[in-house]
């Protein structure tokens, strides 16, 4: 009778993506912040598409800047609001690269209005990713273009008031109205289902660029526990109960050809 041996296999089922730098240095992000989670989602998508070697990320000013130290691809930091312009320059010079931006809601929809409109009207074949946390996070929680009516921030201590400060801006819907846009969607990271769906949106967005269809855009509702003055799990509830009501999830434009 032969001897029986034990065969042991140990397989990794889930964990950090390969396209992240070996260690996320320091603690620049607050507990529960969704910014590094966005980096993980992007890394996942780039690994699935196999394009890490020809992808460039351009990051805006704000908490998104620190993604510079997380993704293991060529990265460029832009002045506040300017990533769509810089992405234009990078893409025009090496059109075979995938060029994407990651910007906050203030970076894109406030100071970044000029570059955004330039990229939209010129139909630049870049991908813009906007992380929407409804405040200016890095500077301590001031009102942002996407702050909700009644939301208390450091510059709206009594709550955002329509008469003085208008209404929250809807990036994904607005961008979908431009002819040169191939894709515009909004996702969130507040549940595993939403995380997977949002990753799917990011993948479609990059695919639109790879197919040279037009500009692609993904807005992601992100938790900002520190500036919302909540615990991380309460922030997820705030996204579900308040933000998604104002900013519905889904795809607002998805075309395969633009003429």
């Amino acid at each position: 009778m032969g001897k029986e041996t034990k065969k042991v296999t140990r397989e990794r089922v889930a964990g950090r993506q390969k396209l992240l730098v070996p260690q996320i240095a320091g603690f620049v992000y607050c507990p529960g912040c969704h910014e590094p989670l966005a980096a993980r989602a992007i890394a996942d998508v780039l690994e699935e598409l196999g394009t890490g070697d020809r992808t460039l990320g351009v990051f805006g000013i704000g908490c998104s800047s620190f993604l510079l130290g997380i993704l293991d691809i060529d990265v460029v930091l832009g002045p506040h609001g300017r990533p769509p312009d810089m992405a234009t320059g990078l893409k025009r010079v090496y059109p075979d690269n995938i060029v994407f931006t990651v910007q906050g809601d203030g970076d894109l929809m406030s100071i970044g209005a000029d570059p955004l409109l330039g990229a939209l009207t010129r139909a630049e074949k870049i991908t813009i990713i906007m992380l929407n946390n409804a405040v200016y996070g890095t500077t301590g929680g001031q009102m942002a273009p996407t702050s909700l009516v009644g939301q208390i921030t450091t510059t709206t201590p009594g709550g955002r008031d329509i008469a003085h400060f208008g209404f929250p801006a809807h990036a994904a819907e607005m961008i979908a109205t431009f002819k040169g846009v191939a894709y515009s969607a909004r996702g969130a990271f507040n549940t595993p289902y939403n995380y997977e769906r949002t990753k799917g949106y990011i993948k479609i967005a990059f695919q639109k660029q790879m197919d040279s269809v037009g500009l692609s855009f993904v807005e992601i509702l992100c938790a900002c526990p520190a500036n919302w003055r909540m615990s991380p799990t309460d922030s997820l509830k705030w996204i579900e109960e308040k933000m998604i009501l104002e900013f519905p999830l889904g795809e607002f434009k998805n075309v395969d050809r633009i003429e």
Binding site: G52, D53, R54, T55, L56, V58, L68, G69, D72, I73, D74, V75, V76, L77, G78, P79, R82, D85, M86, A87, T88, G89, L90, K91, R92, V93, Y94, N97, D114, P115, L117, G118, T121, R122
Partner: protein, 361 residues
């Protein structure tokens, strides 16, 4: 032997940039440099190179930032109000140590002002222009030929120092048609751009590149001081090595005119008129207005010369000349208030300068 063309300064910029292997131009309409943008729109696509009309000067300079980060020779051009808009990003590019060329065709100000010539941006351009401690080399062509040649030098210096370089003309030099010999000038080798963000697969070592404008924050420098020390060293090197000026009849001169751009041509004429009357006048024309030729002016001051600054503004370069003479000489000024007519088409003309020369004598 290059190709001879009868072209204005603005168009000569284009031909010079093409000779320098500029790959991309980004621009926005603004008088008096629209001929530059339109030249690139016409000619660059024919050469298979990149032209983009941006949505604003902010767009031009930031798209340029992207192209420069990708490691190609790229440029933009604008006039004074647009130049003001660009400053934040020029400061960022100085921190990021990116080469680029910016052509600035001066017009009158402040504010919207007349769309015609002036030389009112001297101090702003030669002191960096934006926030923070940095300097750009500023080249000041005084003819169409110099527009063609200096823009080529600008690309070389930008690559050599990894810094923005400004080519500053004005509406007169920009729109004046002259004979130009368009030929490529060789300046020597430039360092390899292995720092550029081109996609990880394009780098020989396969490692990622980071291009940022916060040197101490993302690891390019161990701390803020080492970054400042490096910048200081770079500025010092530029000051030492990139002086460029023309001396006209200065060997035995008792009165030296100092002028750049169109007023330098006017001053040369005035010097000739003075010499015809036996007055020993001369001209120092800075071709690089930064770094400024302090030493040669200081030496002449200590030899007993007097100075007459001729500039089409209320008095900006005169400050540098006063600084250079270190109190050893009289410094006089012919300014924008001495133009021949009070409306915006007024110019500083040779006879006005000659009158002043006679007065000083």
């Amino acid at each position: 032997m290059g190709e001879r063309m009868f072209i204005e300064g603005n168009v000569a910029i284009g031909w010079g940039a093409a000779k320098a292997d500029c790959q991309a131009f980004f621009g926005y309409p603004i008088t008096p440099q629209n001929e530059i943008t339109e030249w690139f729109a016409r000619e660059f696509p024919k050469m298979g190179r990149i032209f983009v009309q941006s949505q604003s000067e902010l767009g031009s300079i930031n798209i340029l930032y992207g192209a420069a980060a990708a490691g190609v020779r790229a440029m933009t051009s604008t006039s004074s109000p647009g130049w003001s808009l660009m400053q934040e990003t020029v400061s960022d590019m100085a921190n990021a140590e990116l080469p680029c060329v910016i052509v600035h065709v001066q017009r009158a100000g402040p504010g919207g002002g007349p769309i015609r010539h002036a030389q009112q941006d001297y101090l702003q351009c030669t002191r960096g222009g934006g926030h923070g401690d940095y300097r750009n080399i500023v080249l000041a062509p005084a003819s169409s030929q110099e527009c063609c040649d200096l823009v080529q030098l600008a690309f070389y210096l930008a690559d050599k120092y990894r810094n923005p370089v400004i080519v500053m003309s004005d509406a007169i030099i920009g729109r004046l048609r002259e004979t130009v010999e368009v030929k490529k000038i060789e300046f020597g080798p430039v360092p390899d751009k292995e720092w550029a963000a081109r996609g990880k697969g394009r780098h020989k070592d396969g490692k990622r590149r980071v291009v940022d404008h916060c040197a101490d924050l993302f690891g390019r420098d161990p701390n803020y001081r080492t970054f400042l020390q490096r910048l200081d060293q770079k500025v010092g090197q530029m000051q030492e090595s990139e002086l460029q000026y023309e001396s006209y009849k200065t060997d035995d001169a008792e009165l030296i005119l100092v002028a750049y751009g169109y007023t330098a041509r006017v001053s040369k004429e005035a010097v000739n008129m003075a010499r015809a009357e036996g007055i020993r006048a001369g001209l120092i024309r800075p071709i690089a207005i930064w770094p400024f030729p302090y030493k040669v002016i200081g030496d002449k001051a200590r030899q007993g010369c007097k100075f007459l600054v001729v500039e089409d503004c209320l008095g900006q370069m005169v400050e540098d000349v006063r600084f250079a003479v270190e109190g050893c000489a009289d410094v006089h000024l012919v300014s924008i208030l001495d133009r021949h007519i009070p409306t915006d088409g007024g110019m500083i003309l040779p006879d006005k300068v000659f009158d002043k020369i006679r007065q000083i004598k």
